[in-house]
């Protein structure tokens, strides 16, 4: 049956080019290609001030908390919910990280436990409000976000907070020169290389599994390998080793968080149930998925990630201020939504979110390097988000 249909395709279907252009793979790559072209444009315009490995990695390093918040909102978005409280939670744990040490002289491990607990409990409250009490997800998380932010003011006086000469100090591994928070401290490159090798192999297997009709196995295997090798060569030409060596500890932590979350979403029953719950809760429930539990857990994971984002922010900055998290919400949601059109056709996923968030930062930075005042950041974020999602939606609809 299928071979009959295939034969007819070859005879009367649209041209191979059109089929390739409208294939899901191509559609999923459109946005990525558009961004890369934009960066090539920047390169021609700005030269080495833009294509500067250290500067671009520093962008990622400094925006790691926002990217983690992107993952936090992504988890709840997968469940079909909105979590607007992540900004408040992030600010709260930044204050906890600094304030409990500086003002209350807690042991640092206790501080970390407190932050994690805050994230878990905060997420649990969100989940219970939305699922058990049926409060609208926007209203519930808008409210709890205000509460989290407020608690940080109540506990620590609502002003800027940083260690002074006379106060207890943050541990030296956590913040300051040569610590987790500093860009100078690098992640072991060998681990990054292993990760990249795994990616290359994964890509090879992925292409290999998409053998077009009429190719022999061996020839397609060779072609797949060749594609991977060519891509690798391009990356090396773009100075890959410098990028790998430049990965800071913070970026490393970000990648590890992403990896763990990716495994959870892809390789556990929980992840599968979560996607099903978000896409069609009624069908998922009737198929035996405990949708209430999955949704609450999504809020808990979101809370935990937001709490971690706050801790990393504290490590980066070594200080906390009440307005530190304002303005995080837009780029975090933008990253998650951009992720749905990067290497995907409409699904939220981890790498899309991280890459989308990073692209967003680079687009903005490029303009700033080129002379646009940094006060334009939010405008650019908003425009890029809407433009990217709109363009890829239009292309998908045209097919």
């Amino acid at each position: 049956m299928s071979s009959v249909t295939a034969g007819k395709v070859a005879a009367s279907g649209p041209s191979a080019l059109k089929r390739f252009a409208t294939s899901p793979t191509m559609q999923g790559s459109l946005t990525t290609i558009a961004f890369l072209l934009l960066f090539v444009g920047y390169w021609i315009w700005l030269g080495d001030t833009f294509v500067n490995v250290d500067a671009r990695l520093l962008d990622v390093h400094q925006n790691a908390p926002i990217l983690i918040l992107g993952l936090a909102v992504m988890v709840t978005l997968i469940a079909g919910q909105f979590d607007l409280s992540v900004g408040g939670m992030c600010t709260l744990t930044t204050f906890l990280s600094i304030g409990l040490v500086v003002q209350k002289d807690w042991a640092f491990w206790m501080v970390l436990v407190a932050c994690v607990l805050a994230g878990l409990i905060g997420g649990l409250i969100n989940g219970l409000l939305v699922v058990k009490l049926g409060v609208n997800t926007f209203i519930a998380t808008l409210g709890t976000g205000g509460v989290f932010l407020g608690i940080s003011s109540v506990l620590f006086g609502g002003t800027q907070l940083a260690p002074t000469d006379t106060s207890p100090q943050l541990p030296s591994w956590f913040s300051g020169d040569g610590s987790l928070g500093s860009f100078g401290e690098k992640f072991p490159s060998v681990i990054v290389w292993i990760g990249l090798a795994a990616c290359a192999y994964g890509l090879f297997r992925w292409i290999q599994a998409r053998k077009p009709e009429g190719r022999t196995d061996t020839s397609w295997t060779v072609i797949s390998a060749a594609i991977v090798v060519v891509l690798a060569a391009i990356l090396f030409a773009l100075n890959l080793p410098a990028w790998v060596d430049g990965v800071s500890l913070t970026i490393g932590v970000l990648l590890i968080i992403g990896l763990v979350l990716w495994v959870v979403l892809r390789y556990t029953t929980y992840g599968r149930y979560l996607y099903a719950t978000g896409a069609n809760p009624e069908a998922a429930r009737l198929a035996g998925v405990k949708t209430d539990r999955e949704t609450i857990l999504a809020f808990v994971i979101g809370g935990l990630l937001a709490a971690l984002a706050g801790v990393i922010l504290a490590a980066n900055q070594g200080a906390a201020s009440p307005d530190i998290g304002t303005g995080f919400l837009l780029p975090a949601f933008a990253a998650a939504f951009l992720g749905t059109v990067i290497m995907s056709t409409g699904r939220f996923h981890v790498w899309g979110t991280l890459i989308g968030g990073t692209f967003l930062v680079w687009v903005t930075q490029g303009l700033i390097v080129g002379g646009v005042p940094f006060t334009w950041t939010d405008v650019i974020n908003g425009v890029v988000l809407v433009a990217a999602v709109a363009v890829s939606t239009i292309f998908r609809r045209r097919a």
Binding site: T5, V9, R272, Y275, A283, G288
Partner: protein
């Protein structure tokens, strides 16, 4: 009333990616004809209609109204489309729904002449034989009445060529009757109606001409009068064997009681007393709104009884084919594999409780092949499958779970006749000593084809169960 143009379609082709659906469709529709469009699920009937409506674009081919070549008919006043999703706004009244998108009737300035709008609406629904107060909200209507409102709205906007895509498949017999009568009247008025349906009797009794699409081509285009039931079946089914009626399944030993409802109430159902034992296939039927499907949810455990009891041992695995496939069945954005394995995922947990995706994929592919899902790649998207293939996937999900209690609601709703036979064979194969099957359907053919005993649900309660041999269709339909 304006005259009905002649619609001609030539050389229409359409592929989705590598899946070539229509390979050259040539059709001409004369005014005043009632055309039945048939063909297996996935044949491309909806695709053809969506292309005409301008929702998809054709790869090749021309569409002509009389002598004028048009891109599509979507924006033409004289063409109307009634899809399965009727596009009515539930919270608005019949009158408001009818006026939507039409020139408002004004009194002075922007003030609406509500009286005249109401009169016009009353006239429009009277034309399709609906006798209702036009201020009734659409949500208060039965499914059949809603469809009539949709038809009335389309006609009221001046449509002379009407496409009706499987509107009857979710309707009970009496409501289908009203709809086809209304369509017949518009045809007698000189309009053209093209109706997609899988119901043989409907097509044979009401249409003037039958068009069958098989494998993306027109395989039959004949006057209905020249066809009888057997002839039509022959033209619809590619292989004889697909229609083979299997001999009586071996009488199966009756096993122990697996589940019992004791005066259970929930939703619109209850109080219900019902005992399901292994080795038995039980069938329930009734009118929509009788609480029929709620009994299924109670047995499945997805609805808790508000009073009474559902007695089942905790270890019993239960699985459900839900009644409303589109909203309750599948996860549209997921792949076929993900939809197949959703209910039994823990089975593929391996090292470190992580899912073994490779094995999962092979098992899912095996099930998709066994059920003959088209297109057959288990990694493909579920959302674009045709209705019958979606139904097969939902069945596959239930089979993969290997439950002891199957609750199958409306198992053949909207599926073609070959698939219907396949599903009957599947259900019969489930019969074993340790397995209880409950079939809940508003289609009496389902019950007579597979069930051992049949009950009628009225006002939420089950009258006594009667052995299937002791009843015939007329008796059953009289009871419902």
């Amino acid at each position: 009333m304006s005259s009905t143009p002649r619609l001609t379609v030539t050389g229409l082709k359409k592929s989705f990616g590598s899946n070539s659906v229509l390979h050259g469709i040539d059709l001409a529709f004369e005014p005043g004809q009632f055309i039945g469009l048939m063909g297996p699920n996935g044949a491309g009937k909806s695709t053809l209609i969506k292309i005409l409506a301008g929702l998809y674009s054709a790869d090749e081919g021309t569409i002509k109204l009389d002598d004028e070549t048009v891109r599509n008919l979507g924006s033409r006043r004289e063409c109307g489309f009634i899809h399965q999703d009727l596009g009515l706004i539930e919270d608005m009244s019949i009158c408001e729904n009818l006026r939507l998108g039409q020139q408002p009737m004004k009194l002075v300035g922007p003030i609406l002449n509500l009286k005249r709008e109401r009169e016009a609406a009353a006239e429009a629904i009277a034309r399709v034989g609906l006798d209702r107060d036009v201020d009734t909200p659409v949500s208060a209507l039965s499914p059949g009445e809603k469809t009539l409102v949709a038809v009335a709205r389309t006609l009221d906007r001046g449509a002379r060529i009407l496409f009706v895509d499987e509107a009857t498949s979710t309707l009970p017999a009496a409501d289908s009757r009203r709809l086809t009568d209304a369509l017949r009247r518009t045809v007698d008025d000189g309009a053209t109606v093209i109706m997609v349906s899988h119901k043989l009797s409907e097509i044979l009794d009401d249409t003037d001409r039958v068009v069958v699409i098989l494998d993306g081509e027109i395989s039959t285009d004949e006057p209905t009068a020249s066809l009888d039931r057997e002839g039509l079946v022959e033209r619809l089914v590619a292989k004889e064997s697909e229609m083979a009626v299997e001999g009586e399944a071996d009488a199966c030993e009756i096993g122990e009681e697996l589940i019992a409802l004791e005066a259970a109430c929930g939703g619109r159902a209850g109080p219900v007393d019902l005992v399901l034992r292994g080795g038995e296939i039980t069938g329930l039927t009734g009118l929509p709104g009788s609480g029929l499907h709620d009994i299924g949810f109670l047995v499945h455990g997805s609805m808790r009884p508000v009073s009474g009891r559902v007695r089942a041992s905790r270890k019993i695995r239960r699985a459900l084919v839900p009644p409303h496939r589109e909203t309750q069945g599948g996860i549209p954005v997921s792949s076929i594999r993900e939809n197949l394995t959703l209910s039994s995922l823990p089975r593929w947990r391996g090292f470190g409780r992580l899912l073994a995706l490779g094995q999962e994929g092979r098992d899912a592919q095996g099930m998709a092949d066994e059920l003959n899902v088209v297109p057959g790649d288990a990694e493909g998207p579920y959302g674009v499958l045709s209705g019958g293939n979606k139904q097969k996937v939902i069945f596959g999900r239930v089979l993969l779970k290997e439950p002891q209690v199957y609750v199958l609601c409306e198992p053949t709703r909207g599926v073609d006749i070959a698939t219907r036979m396949e599903i009957y064979r599947l259900i019969r194969k489930l019969r074993s000593k340790d397995v209880a099957v409950l079939v809940i359907s508003s289609d009496s053919e389902d019950l007579f084809s597979v069930c051992d005993r049949i009950g009628v649900v009225d006002d939420g309660t089950v009258e006594e169960l009667v052995p299937a041999e002791e009843m015939n269709t007329q008796q059953l339909e009289a009871l419902v």
